[in-house]
């Protein structure tokens, strides 16, 4: 086991962490802040990836240009889903909310299977094979872009939630719906926008991930559990925590792949998750859950 292999694994892990984080910021908003157990998050990602795929195929452009269309598209889709399905059950049992969104994820997944067939798809890009070499460590450019984007998106959402009027309203509506309404906040509208933003961030994740991953109808299921692991590890509703937790999870996974037999490394995030839930349920970075 040479040092540069370990360094490479850490670099790969950090880049993969960027991808995880990009998926998780939206979930931190819908699950962490709004407390909607959004099990369809992975399928929203799938929708975003297919949308960017078809957009870039139709216009023969780089997948990244799809962000311009897919972000508003996903925002509207999120608003639509919220209005139609989530809003009627906002005050229902959390477990029933979870079941509804699991149901939605099954519908979306199988809908994609019927519409797009189970074939794997990928885009060709000029950037696809370009890389940066730092000594013995090789960094793929698409992954570096994903990494940089995810950090930017995380900081943007953090700023939105902390420092804007809308962010304050979202936090108020999330912590006490009735009190917020009494303070003159239009809770329905705020929730609608927050859910739209949570889904809309996947409109960035989809195009950015397109050059890195194959798309299949069940691609969401590869990420959804990791996403929940990250959000819980980072401390519910904590954007910066989720960002750091993404890196912790991904580096654990890629270092594990180096040392553990076969492809058993993916168990590590889940073991970490179980241990954290058992012994430190408020997440790795402390903020007490509400």
């Amino acid at each position: 086991m040479t040092l540069d292999l370990i360094l490479q694994a850490i670099a790969t892990g950090i880049l993969l962490g960027g991808v995880y984080s990009l998926i998780c910021t939206g979930l931190t908003l819908t699950f962490g802040v709004m407390r909607i157990i959004n099990f369809a998050h992975g399928e929203f990602l799938m929708v975003a990836m297919y949308a960017s795929y078809f957009f870039s195929q139709a216009l023969h452009t780089e997948a990244y240009t799809a962000i311009l269309v897919v972000v508003p598209g996903l925002f509207i889709f999120g608003v639509f889903v919220f209005q139609l399905l989530v809003r009627p059950i906002l005050s229902a049992e959390p477990l029933n909310q979870m079941l509804l969104l699991v149901g939605l994820s099954l519908v979306l997944q199988n809908g994609a299977l019927a519409l797009f067939s189970p074939d794997t798809r990928s885009v060709q890009s000029a950037l696809l094979y370009s890389k940066i070499e730092l000594g013995d460590v090789i960094i793929g450019v698409p992954k570096l872009i994903a990494f940089a984007t995810s950090v930017a998106v995380t900081f943007a959402l953090y700023w939105l939630l902390r420092s804007t009027e809308l962010g304050r309203q979202i936090r108020a509506a999330a912590s006490d719906r009735e009190a917020a309404a009494l303070m003159g906040i239009n809770v329905n509208r705020v929730n609608l926008i927050a859910f739209g933003i949570g889904v809309g961030t996947l409109g960035i994740a989809g195009p950015v991930m397109l050059p890195i991953f194959y798309i299949v109808p069940n691609i969401g299921s590869f990420f959804i559990l990791i996403a929940f692991v990250v959000v819980v590890l980072g401390g519910i509703g904590n954007f910066m925590g989720a960002l750091v937790a993404s890196f912790v999870v991904a580096v654990t996974e890629s270092l594990g792949a180096l040392f553990m037999p076969g492809s058993t490394a993916p168990v590590l995030p889940f073991l970490l998750f179980i241990l954290v839930l058992l012994f430190k349920p408020e997440g790795l970075f402390g903020a007490k859950p509400r």
């Binding site: 157990i37 979870m98 889940f270 998750f273 179980i274």
Partner: protein, 204 residues
């Protein structure tokens, strides 16, 4: 008059259920078996999820442990699934006790309980995929050449239908019994109000 007609409906239903494999084509029998299997699994899940309101995503894990145990015992040691299912059941139950003990000891519930059971299932799935001794990604396959009730091997699909039907009836019986028993009442009390149940002396 009303009761006579009800009895007629019940009898017709029973006759239909018993006669179904005789009139259905092969593929539809397979579907019918799936229906019975899902009904059976739902009943199993209902004891935890329905009675106590603890939503578990981990039942795939318990089913997997049972299936792997009995299949491995049959393939490696020629032990009948009738014995293997008891062994598998005991192993599953022990695993369930372990996960349940951990979760409830550390007061994990609701969403977090669902996520923990899902995480355990995922861990088990990845381990099973990477362990050659249990078939790895290929899985396990039981070759069937002849009918053998002791080994639950049938060339004809309809026999499995009756086996599954019998299991479903047993599960329904257990559920009905549990619902009327003291334990069942305790479980339902936990669902309705955990704190009140504890105050009245139900050991959570």
């Amino acid at each position: 008059m009303k009761t006579t007609r009800n009895w007629f409906v019940v009898l017709a239903g029973i006759a239909l259920i018993i006669g179904l494999p005789k009139i259905l084509p092969e593929h539809s029998i397979h579907v019918a078996i799936q229906i019975l299997l899902f009904a059976y699994l739902s009943l199993c899940w209902n004891i935890l999820g329905g009675f106590t309101g603890q939503l578990s995503f981990g039942h795939a894990l318990f089913m997997g442990v049972g299936a792997y145990t009995s299949t491995l015992l049959l393939l490696r040691f020629g032990i009948s699934p009738w014995i293997g299912m008891i062994a598998g059941g005991i192993l599953s139950a022990l695993l369930g006790l372990f996960i349940g003990y951990l979760s409830f000891r550390y007061r994990i519930r609701g969403t977090y309980f669902a996520l923990v059971t899902l995480a355990f299932t995922e861990v088990a799935r990845i381990i099973a995929l990477n362990t050659e001794a249990v078939g790895g990604a290929m899985g396990l396959y039981i070759p069937i050449q002849s009918n053998d009730l002791w080994q639950i091997k049938f060339v004809d699909k309809s026999q499995y239908y009756y086996v599954m039907l019998a299991f479903l009836l047993v599960a329904m019986g257990v559920t009905a019994w549990l619902e009327r028993s003291v334990t069942g009442h305790k479980l339902i009390a936990i669902r309705e109000n955990e704190d009140a149940a504890q105050a009245l002396g139900v050991s959570l």
